[in-house]
């Protein structure tokens, strides 16, 4: 790949699309004293930027695929952050919710409606299926939220882990959705546009929630549950609500994941999958949505980037360095935690995701 034309394209798109959008957002933001226009236009700018790069072939299919995966992880990490980081609960079964979303939406598009992407209107049904998956996952979140009323910390972690594993066991035994063969032949509906929209919506809703009075209740529960209760906060309701919303977005992400890979398999949604999302939340910074976004992107890109670098070095040195990819990944993770204990972003938030009056 030649670097010069790539850089030129990047620059041109940047100056013609993104910067104007950002400055419009800035002006509107300053005039109205609100951050929403700025955030929305910035997101639109980033979306267009990547979209143009992708459709002109500057980013090949591989890079776009990694970006799509990263965005799905953004939605998963942000939604887990709502439960673990913002409300201070401890869920270890987040992928269980994603599994519900994946299988419910996959059942709708593949088994019930046998959707063909080329048929007009199919896309709308697909979006409906994704929403249905999200709703189903949210209901599961309510169910799993209830133990959180009685259990704390590590005990809660075990129960959520158990729920995740039970969901997996059940999926393994329903032959209608493929059992251990997996739910196959799912049409490829997920593309950059809808995945970006879903990730953005997740971030937006959680951000707005945190800044609403409800959000203050979540934070209060995290800081001190007893004090929150004494202050008149219905902690029961808010804890279950936090699980429901977090689970709902995880379900949407799961549905998009299944329609990107064109399959869903019970093993994808096991304990290790949940741990990967958990790592993103804490490596990014507890309670920081910006951190979740950065961690989701950097860890996904890092794991892929190491592949290329090590293969290249391995070829030069004639050693099997490719096998060390995960060793280095784990080592970097440990180093991040040792040298940036509070995660990449700590609990800081990007200005875009804050309210103007919040000056932290």
């Amino acid at each position: 790949m030649e670097y010069k034309p790539v850089l030129q394209t990047l620059k041109r798109i940047g100056s013609w699309i993104v910067f104007p959008l950002l400055s419009v957002g800035d002006i509107v933001g300053r005039k109205t004293g609100r951050n929403m226009p700025r955030l929305t236009l910035a997101a639109l700018g980033i979306y267009l930027y990547i979209y143009v790069l992708g459709s002109t072939g500057v980013f090949n299919g591989y890079v776009m695929h990694i970006i799509n995966l990263s965005l799905i992880y953004v939605a998963l990490a942000a939604s887990l952050n709502l439960i673990n980081g913002i409300t201070g609960q401890f869920s270890l079964g987040h992928m269980g919710f994603a599994a519900v979303g994946a299988y419910v939406s996959g059942t709708f598009t593949t088994l019930l409606f046998k959707l063909n992407p080329s048929v007009p209107g199919a896309y709308l049904v697909f979006v409906g299926a994704i929403v249905a998956g999200g709703v189903a996952a949210a209901l599961m979140g309510v169910l799993i939220g209830f133990p959180s009323l009685r259990l704390k910390g590590d005990y809660l972690a075990i129960v959520t882990l158990g729920f995740g594993e039970i969901i997996r066991t059940i999926l393994n035994n329903i032959s209608y959705v493929g059992g251990p063969r997996g739910l196959l032949g799912i049409p490829k509906f997920s593309n950059f546009t809808i995945i970006f929209a879903a990730a953005f919506l997740t971030i937006l809703v959680i951000r707005n929630l945190v800044h609403s009075s409800h959000g203050r209740a979540f934070l209060a529960i995290r800081e001190n549950e007893l004090a929150a209760e004494l202050a008149g906060i219905d902690t029961t309701r808010y804890k279950v609500l936090s699980f429901a919303i977090g689970a709902g977005f995880a379900g949407v992400a799961g549905g998009l994941f299944a329609h990107l890979l064109q399959m869903a398999h019970p093993t994808q949604y096991g304990f290790m999958g949940s741990v990967m999302v958990l790592i993103m939340v804490y490596a990014g910074g507890v309670g920081s949505l910006t951190g979740s976004i950065i961690a989701a992107f950097s860890l996904t890109f890092l794991s892929e980037g190491l592949r290329g670098v090590l293969d290249g070095l391995g070829e030069l040195t004639n050693l099997p360095l490719g096998d060390l990819r995960m060793v280095i990944y784990a080592l970097l993770l440990i180093l991040i935690m040792l040298f940036r204990t509070e995660g990449l972003m700590g609990n800081k938030e990007s200005k875009l995701l804050m309210l103007p009056e919040d000056k932290r």
Partner: protein
């Protein structure tokens, strides 16, 4: 320190992903398998098989006058990782064909990408029938699920004279579940009785709860469709519980580790396989000897099938006389080639038509028992 780390990580990511793919004097073939993660040992075997075939061809002058370069990528045994790897090999490395991967669930994530891009793939060991149904660019080198189970059931009924059978399988693994279900269906169709049909969780080391139930049901034969590592433990534990009858299984048994771990417990065991190491065909003798010389161990089924899959792919490209996907695919469809695991031709659904052999474990050795034609 923090900043340095961040910079290093970013640079790594950028160079790794956007790094330029150079070189035009060679033909690139992709290889995929799980080199890390819990299935790593299978991926390592697969890598050995692929590498050996490529090295042999390169030593003999390469392919279409060029050297072959194998780009082997790790899928960790995860579908998502598989989809990423397929995208990388096709979009970034611009391979002309792919040999991969071990697990059906991962092959199923890669197959649609291969099909859409028109890059032929041969999966060495994905037995799920759905894999090749994805499209006409997808082939496989192994048996499909139903075949081995059916052969096993017939063997148990005819040769072992069993009338009551039991089976144990991994509930989370479609290969072992598929084999066991096919065994059960055939055995029932033959007029036999299934006295127990038990599952165990993936990664289990203790199977005694299920095995106790099986032993107490007093079967004449027990069908164990797991991979060799689980089979060895299951055999040991079922013998401890007092079962002395025959055990029957599939090609997942084929590894020198089976007898190393299982010891005397796997005696009176029989499994369906692609070939026998006693086979006197020169291609088999040469392969087993060369493999031992190169890697210091006997090849297992995964290494053999990967070697065959790569050999078939390279022959397909040679016969096509081109690296164009469509031409390779057509050449593969019409291929007829003697490889280690037998004479391979592809049927209309791109599955190999080849006979199976039944191997008996006797005195710690694999002994040829009989051949079954499809």
């Amino acid at each position: 320190m923090k900043r340095a780390l961040l910079i290093v990580a970013t640079v790594l990511a950028v160079f790794g992903i956007f790094g330029c793919a150079q070189g035009g004097g060679e033909i690139k073939i992709g290889g995929v398998g799980p080199v890390t993660g819990e299935a790593a040992t299978f991926g390592v075997s697969t890598k050995m098989g692929c590498q050996m075939a490529v090295d042999e061809w390169n030593a003999a002058g390469g392919l279409l006058g060029k050297q072959i370069k194998l780009i082997y990528a790790d899928d960790k045994g995860e579908p998502a990782e598989g989809a990423t790897v397929w995208n990388k090999l096709i979009q970034q490395d611009k391979v002309v064909a792919i040999v991969g991967t071990v697990m059906s669930k991962v092959s199923l994530a890669g197959a649609p990408i291969s099909q859409a891009a028109g890059i032929p793939m041969i999966s060495p060991t994905s037995t799920n029938t759905k894999v090749t149904e994805v499209g006409d660019y997808i082939f496989r080198a192994c048996f499909i699920d139903p075949f081995q189970g059916t052969v096993g059931a017939k063997f148990a009924w005819d040769d072992l004279g069993a009338r009551k059978a039991a089976a144990i399988f991994d509930v989370g693994n479609d290969y072992t579940k598929g084999l066991s279900e096919a065994f059960r269906d055939k055995f029932l169709a033959l007029g036999g009785e299934m006295v127990a049909f038990e599952a165990h969780p993936t990664g289990a080391t203790d199977f005694k709860a299920q095995l106790t139930k099986i032993v107490q049901a007093m079967p004449d034969v027990v069908y164990v469709s797991d991979y060799y590592n689980d089979v060895a433990l299951i055999a040991k534990q079922i013998r401890e519980l007092g079962y002395t009858g025959p055990l029957v299984g599939g090609d997942g048994w084929d590894s020198p580790e089976l007898t190393a771990i299982g010891g005397a417990a796997v005696e009176n065991g029989f499994f369906t396989n692609h070939y026998s190491k006693d086979d006197t065909r020169p291609v088999v003798k040469e392969f087993v000897a060369k493999f031992k010389a190169k890697f210091g161990s006997e090849p297992d089924a995964l290494a053999t099938l990967a070697y065959d899959a790569m050999y078939l792919m390279l022959t397909g490209i040679k016969q096509a006389g081109s690296t164009e996907g469509a031409k390779i695919k057509d050449a593969l469809a019409g291929i007829s080639l003697d490889v280690v695991s037998g004479r391979v031709q592809f049927d209309a659904s791109r599955n190999p038509v080849k006979s199976a052999v039944i191997i008996e474990i006797k005195g710690g050795q694999q002994v040829y028992r009989t051949t079954v034609n499809p």
